[in-house]
Amino acid sequence: METDIPGFLLSVYQHLGVKYPKFYKMDNLAKLGWLATEVLLKDFDKAKYQPTDIGVVLTNAGSSLDADKRYYESVQDIASPALFVYTLPNIVIGEICIRHHFKGENAFYIFDGFNADFVNNYVSILLETGQLQACICGWVEMAATGYKAVLFLVEKDKKENAILFDAAGIEKRFIAVGFNQR
């Protein structure tokens, strides 16, 4: 069954009840990552950190291919700068950073599937070496066949109800989330 992805993203945005006009300009991948982060950070007290102490490390398999195809369709007519800017996977990180004022380390990696070992290992290095105090990390995919976002908030200080950040734990949670087919 064909799902209306823009319609779905818009309904989540409306459900959250936030006002953020920039949302409408974003491509589907940025919208998906942005919305997932809104939910993830609902109770996050970012004020206890410096902006440069909070980072974002995201991964997916398809890079920005969804936006790439839309942009290249526009090239046949008049190339659209508004579409071109989204033809980079790290733009979703930029949108998240603008929204939440995060200025720390950021990186976008491509894997054929969720690489829990790498995400766990690399984010742990960033926290342990003091590059970051908190990090949003995980997977944001917007593919021709469907979409999926699984994000984690990792902090150095243990909070109530927090679970240990390890590869097996994030892998399990990643698998528990289905791939929403188009």
Binding site: G62, F84, L88, N90, C97, G104, Y109
Partner: protein, 379 residues
Amino acid sequence: MKKVYLVADNITSPLGATTAQNFEHLVNDVTGVRQHNDKAISDERFFASLFEKGYFQTDKCWTKFEHLVIASLTEILYGVDKNISDKKTVLIISTTKGNISLLETEEPSPELDARIALHTSAKKIARHFGFVNEPLVISHACISGLAAMITGMRLIQSGQYDHVVVAGADVISKFVLSGFQSFQAVSPGLCKPFDANRDGINLGEGAATVILSAEKTDGETIELASGAVSNDANHISGPSRTGEELYFAIDKTMKGAGLQAGDIDFISAHGTATIYNDEMEAKAVTLAGLQDVPLNSLKGFYGHTLGASGLIEAIVSAQSLKQNIIIPTKGFSKQGDANRVNVCSQLISKPLNSCLKIASGFGGCNAAIILTKSQQDIS
């Protein structure tokens, strides 16, 4: 913390197939940028640094992007034992758009999507050379090359790997050029980094590879002393108005290397020759107290090679340290009034120990690394 050394490098560009060939051309003021008239890429004539047609072409087995990465890796790995199949060795690939030109020539299909995917290329290439670990791909706009080096450095420092092979490449096709044209960001002539009359970028093709290792080689070796990444959190396609966030990355990487402003002998800037990028970089460099340190941009020689640019420019900078030569900024002739920095306009020969390399890109990302001559070599 473990030290990380640059033990081998390659630049494959229109200027040559080895680092030595490339550096020789830079010293002799030879650029790869020229005017092209290629309707497959652009209806209008444009300036760019491109490989000769037919030099690297998509075939049944490899895409043009993959051919470029393979050429760079082959040259660097030729005849030397770099423990490629060791469990403590990993390949990192840096690119912004990889195989995207296939969208222009191939029929849409799920198979095409899979062929374009960067992990497909990375795995094919890793298998071809005999790497045993799953390769990493970083695609982080114009800081991809530096971000890949920083990732590699951290993976060595943490002890997970002993050797990290970092390879980057990008190809210029209609997709990429039309995008920069749509932003009105392409110069109608040769680009003029940091010049008062700068009017946009030239694009370029290229590949580069550097091998990072925990083991120092004999002779003079360049060390990747530290690196940092930051985000502007300001605008997705325009740089920070203040340069504060790039400054933060510069400051952090200098502190990480234990260096002060007076220790930096030259700066290799991103210097795309757009009004806003160069102005932002100049502000950040000034905030760091580095406004008098000789600074260059290599975009007048290579154009902007996107995912390869950070690697190409870091390798040239390492070569500059070894040969004690700072390459001038081709295209620069007239200093603007605002945000004066010490743009290097003529070849400088003097003893060099440390270099700061910076880059910034779409999505508000900034990166900085410090390269130094290994301390043992200096003393």
